[in-house]
Each structure stands twice: as structure tokens, then as C-alpha cells.
């Protein structure tokens, strides 16, 4: 069952500074379908629009971010939530923590520094389950921490007394306490060390295996996604350029950008030369015409400079947006 459907979303930042109108096309015509019980990885560099995409999915759309076109549909079986333009009307459905939760990047600035972890849990539970007794609260929290393998002592500590990894695990505990259907994680481990990163990701994987929920994991680190994701979407300059099963992405990348990304990963035990991608990422305020990767692409053709390729299926479950693999552009055949 498709639990999350993203349909041709265009989300731009409209900035009006000193009379100058600027538009940053952070998410431009992105369509994705994410299934139940899968781990979907979104890979991309900084400022490619991946965090904006997460904002749109989680329904936290505040100016200057505006949805120009398209919609996001959650389908939980008994209930659907719409975000975006529905029949010409802007609609932002209420996405609740019980259905969709979010694990942010910097755990340091997420937890309230003057509250004990126990009070942070109380706050969250109280705002969703108003009639619950205090003893039941305590039991629920303890049971939940136990099931995640966290020590109960953390409840009586302040966030600054916890190590970075422990803090991130507390946040994961907060995000999973209602057993949500969809968990969004935006670079959950990029501030952590390798050993701690492994334990945090293993925890996320265990939760996913047990609850059969959907996990959407955003990361710039392809090696992490190789270890945890079922499918990967590669994002470049506001567009999804390739979506495929994790095995296909690593063994048979088709978009030139993906090829570069895979080939530039250094591996322990291999000292052969790794090449970096020439050039640098474009500014989203003024993206290049046509395919946005064309200024850095070694296989650039004339058509790439004029038209933007459409993400279309080239093999089973393998979607690529490149004129090398298909002739479809976003505004019809060329």
C-alpha cells in the first residue's frame, strides 16, 4: 500500500528583501511514492532541497516557504491527509505526532535545556492524551524506554548531561512512543561519531523491523543509506534525478551524478584514486536552464541545456531523469 504520495510538488521560498523579489526553487516538480513498511533514503548534498522536501512532507509550511503546485497525500487506510493544492485550494492537513513523527538533525538544540527528560516526555504525552493518569504515564514511558534498550536513569537527567548519542536516542524514543506510521529522519546522525552513529541507526532499523512503519531517512552519506535503506532517491538541485532499489543504485547507477557519487566514496582497503565531481552545486535562486546537472556533466548534449528531463522508469523499479536513458522531457517529448 502506498502510504505517502508526493505529486508534482513545487515548493519555493519567496523572499521580498528591499523591494527585490527573489525566488529560491528549493523543491521543483518532485514526485515520489513511498510504500508501507519500507525504508526510503533520500541522498543529496547540502542546499539541494532535501530538508525543504521534509518540511513539505511534514506539513510545516510557513512563509517564505510556499507551495506553488502539487500535493502530498498520506493514506493511512482509515484516514487521508492532504497537504498542498487540492482542486486549486490550498489545504494543509494536520499531521499529528501519532501518525507522522520527525527526528531532526541537531539533537543539541531540540530538547529543552531546562527540563528533565521525564518532563519532556510528560509534555509530549499530555498534549496528545489528555485524560491519562500520571501512573499510566510513568508506566508507558518506562516500558517504551525498556523496549528500546535505554536506561531508565536518563529520565532524571537534563539534556546537557547526556552524550550526543544518548540524546539522539532519547529523541528517537520521543518520536516512536506513539508507534507512528511514518517516521521522517533528517540527517539523524550527521553530528555523531561513527560508533555512536552505528548504534543510533541500528536502533532505527530495529524499530522499523518491529513496527513495520515507513522510515524516510535523509542523509548526505551514501554508505549509511547502503546499510539501512530499501530504496534510494538521489536529489540534485531541487529535483529527484534517480530512484531505485538500493542494490540497483550501487551496482548499476544510471544518472551521471549518481555515478560520480558512488565512485567518489572512499573505502577502507582500497587506495585507488577517487575522482571528485567537477564544478560545484548551483544556487537554487538561479538554477541553470534545462537539466540542472548539465554544467557539471561530462556527457552533456545540446538538449540538456534547453529542456529538463522527466523522471521515468527505464528498468523495473528504476527511475532516472536523464536524456541519456530516455527522451521524455518535463514538457512532453522533444
Amino acid at each position: 500500500m502506498t502510504v505517502l504520495q508526493i505529486d508534482k510538488i513545487k515548493a519555493y521560498y519567496k523572499i521580498n528583501a528591499y523591494g527585490n523579489q527573489r525566488t529560491v526553487k528549493a523543491v521543483d516538480n518532485v514526485s515520489l511514492e513511498i510504500e508501507e513498511d519500507e525504508t526510503f533514503g533520500i541522498a543529496g548534498e547540502s542546499s539541494c532541497g532535501k530538508s525543504t522536501l521534509i518540511k513539505v512532507i511534514s506539513g510545516t509550511i510557513k512563509p517564505p516557504l510556499t507551495i506553488i503546485e502539487g500535493k502530498v497525500i498520506y493514506n493511512f487506510g482509515d484516514e487521508s491527509i492532504y497537504i498542498g493544492k487540492v482542486n486549486g485550494q490550498e489545504e494543509i492537513g494536520k499531521v499529528t505526532w501519532e501518525k507522522v513523527s520527525y527526528i531532526p538533525q541537531s539533537s543539541m538544540s531540540v530538547l529543552n535545556p531546562v527540563m528533565k527528560v521525564r518532563d519532556i516526555f510528560y509534555d509530549l504525552l499530555k498534549s496528545h492524551k489528555k485524560t491519562m493518569e500520571k501512573e499510566v504515564f510513568n508506566e508507558t514511558i518506562k516500558e517504551h524506554l525498556n523496549s528500546l534498550g535505554l536506561p531508565i536513569e536518563v529520565l532524571d537527567l537534563y539534556p546537557h548531561q547526556l552524550s550526543g548519542g544518548m540524546r539522539q536516542r532519547v529523541i528517537i524514543a520521543l518520536a516512536t512512543i506513539f508507534r507512528p506510521k511514518v517516521i521522517l529522519a533528517d540527517e539523524p546522525t550527521s553530528a555523531l561519531d561513527v560508533v555512536v552513529q552505528q548504534s543510533v541507526l541500528q536502533l532505527l532499523r530495529e524499530i522499523q523491523n518491529e513496527n513495520k512503519n515507513t522510515l524516510i531517512l535523509v542523509s548526505h552519506d551514501m554508505s549509511i543509506l547502503a546499510n539501512i535503506a530499501n530504496r534510494i532517491g538521489i536529489m540534485y538541485a531541487g529535483k529527484i534525478v534517480e530512484v531505485a532499489k538500493v542494490k540497483d543504485i550501487f551496482e548499476n547507477p544510471m544518472h551521471p551524478y549518481t555515478k560520480f557519487l558512488i565512485n567518489s566514496i572512499p573505502r577502507i582497503g582500497d587506495k585507488s584514486d577517487r575522482l571528485s565531481i567537477p564544478g560545484f552545486p548551483p544556487s537554487l535562486a538561479d538554477p541553470p536552464n534545462g537539466c540542472r546537472f548539465h554544467p557539471r556533466c561530462p556527457y552533456v548534449m545540446d538538449i540538456c541545456k534547453e529542456k529538463s528531463p522527466l523522471l521515468c522508469e527505464v528498468a523495473e523499479g528504476h527511475n532516472v531523469a536523464c536524456f541519456l536513458t530516455s527522451e521524455e522531457s518535463e514538457d512532453g517529448k522533444y
Binding site: E45, S46, P151, E153, V154, Q161, L162, S163, G164, G165, M166, D193, V194, V195, V196, Q197, Q198, S199, L201, Q202, H220, D221, M222, S223, I224, A226, N227, I228, V246, K247, I249, F250, F260, L261, I262, S264, I265, P266, R267, I268, G269, K271, D273, R274, L275, S276, I277, F280, P281
Partner: protein, 324 residues
Amino acid sequence: MENTEKLLTVKDITKVFTRGSLLSRISFTAVNNVSFEIEANKPEIFAIVGESGSGKTTLARIILHLIEPTSGQILYRGKDITKIKSKRDRIEFMSTVQPIFQNPFETFNPLKRVDSYLYETALNYKITNKSNLERFIADILNSVGLSIEEVKGRYLHEFSGGQIQRLSVARALIVRPSLLVADEPVSMLDVSLRMSIVNLFKELKNDQNVSIIYITHDLATAYYISDRIAIMFRGDVVELGPVEAVLARPLHPYTRVLKEAVPEPTPTQKWGGKINFSAIEIEEFSRVGCKFAGRCQSVMEICKKAEPKYSSVDNRMVKCWLYK
């Protein structure tokens, strides 16, 4: 004068930070008895790897003489740098040892033209005179893969992270240093730009004979560029040796844990096993005996009582009771 063949000798460096008032003083050992050497005639890339809080940045700052060590010596070409007092000696030292910092956007003042840093450095250190200045800077920029037309008269916000990090490497190269101390130089950069900086370091070593101390938490890039590696844990160097040997056959249990935690970019090989780690970091710093004892899988009685000594096992140093 036996030390003249050594570019840098780090000898028993210890740094203890204290905080609190006179009555309730808490001391905290950030770097504990670290020693290593870098040869003068053979340029090399020496990686220092460890998690955050392992003391690697403190060690870098001591080598750069930005902070004083509590005890120990740092000899640069046989001269003790902790005894540098006069400005002349300091300039002499800075013209051979140069830093590269982590966040390229904090290295430069956003209100100043970036190229002014290059001109000022060249003039302050009297590397070249005004008439040759422009050509000299152009040559330096070429060596890091930038052109003077790209850089001239522009401000910080007009560059990408990779370009700025190249500029800070260029600034460090102006004085023709023989040693660069790079503290997490690529951790703030995008994946697609990261390898270009790492490859630049490799070129500098091969073409310009610059030795580099490369501090990082990323084992994969450390393996890719470095010749020798030191693994740090809570202030101690627990293992030191040639990078191929250390990472192919790790001896210290911590190195093993660290290596296994690196995600492999192959979807068919996924992580296995469980790892335990401490809830509160401060416990590990104040631990008596081996600081890794609380997490170590092959922990013995002696590990909890006495600090292990360095022992030399096939060409490398290991600080562990398993190899005494």
C-alpha cells in the same frame, strides 16, 4: 643534535584542563602522554583519528602553539616550540607550520575581500615584494586549482564551501610551509567536493613535499590519503602505525570497534552485531586504568586497575594490556 632529521617530535604531551574555583577544582585530562614523530626528509600524511572528545583538536592546537601543554615537549626541527616567546621566533615558526581549520566559512571575515588575506599574508611574512605580488598569488591559487580571476575582489558569500576551503589551503601555502595541520578540513563540505580537497592534500604531499597532519573522524578518507595513523580515545593514543596495517588488522579493541562501525558502501554487506556505549561521557575520562575498559569486549581484571603501557607489536605502538 640528533633531532635535526625529525621535522616534528611530539614528546610526552599532556594537557590538563581545570575548572571550578580554588576549593572545588575539577581537572580533566584532554591529552594524555602522547608521543610521535614526523620525519623531515620524507613527506607524509599523518592521520589522527578519534571520536569527538578524544582530544585530537587539543593536540592540534598544542602543535600549532595556540595553547600551552601542561607537560611535555614539542620539538620542531630540534627546537622546542613551547619556549617560543619573542615575536620573531613566532613568525619564524608560523612561516613553516600552518593551520587549516574545520569550518571554511568561519576562517575568513565576511566583510573583507577574500583575496586581501592572500596579499596581506604574503606581505606580512615578506615572502615577496609588491611588484611580484600578483604573479606570486596567481601561482599559489593555480596550485590549489583556482584562478586569480575567480578570486579577485570577491567576498566570502560569493564562493562555495569547496572553493573557500581551497582558498584557506592557498593561504596556508603562501609561506611555503613544510607542515600543515588540518583539523577536520572536509567535514563541513559536501560529498561531491570532499574528494577534491582530499586529492589536493595528496598532490601537495607528492609535488611540494609538504607533510600534513590530517585530523578527522572519518576512517575512510584517512585510509585513502594517509601513510600513518594514530587512533585516539579519551586523550590517549591507543594505536599508532602504518595505515594499511592498522586498519587491515587492528590490534587494539577500540580500533576494531571503530573500524566495524564504518558503514560499508555495499548494500549486500550490512552491519551486524550490537555495541554498547556509555551513557555519560565524563565517566570515561575519569576512569582509573584503561579508559576503554567499560566498553571493551576482552576486558581483564588488570585493565580496571592500572593504565596500560605502550608496547611495540609488528611495527606499531599499541596501548593495551593484551599485548604486553
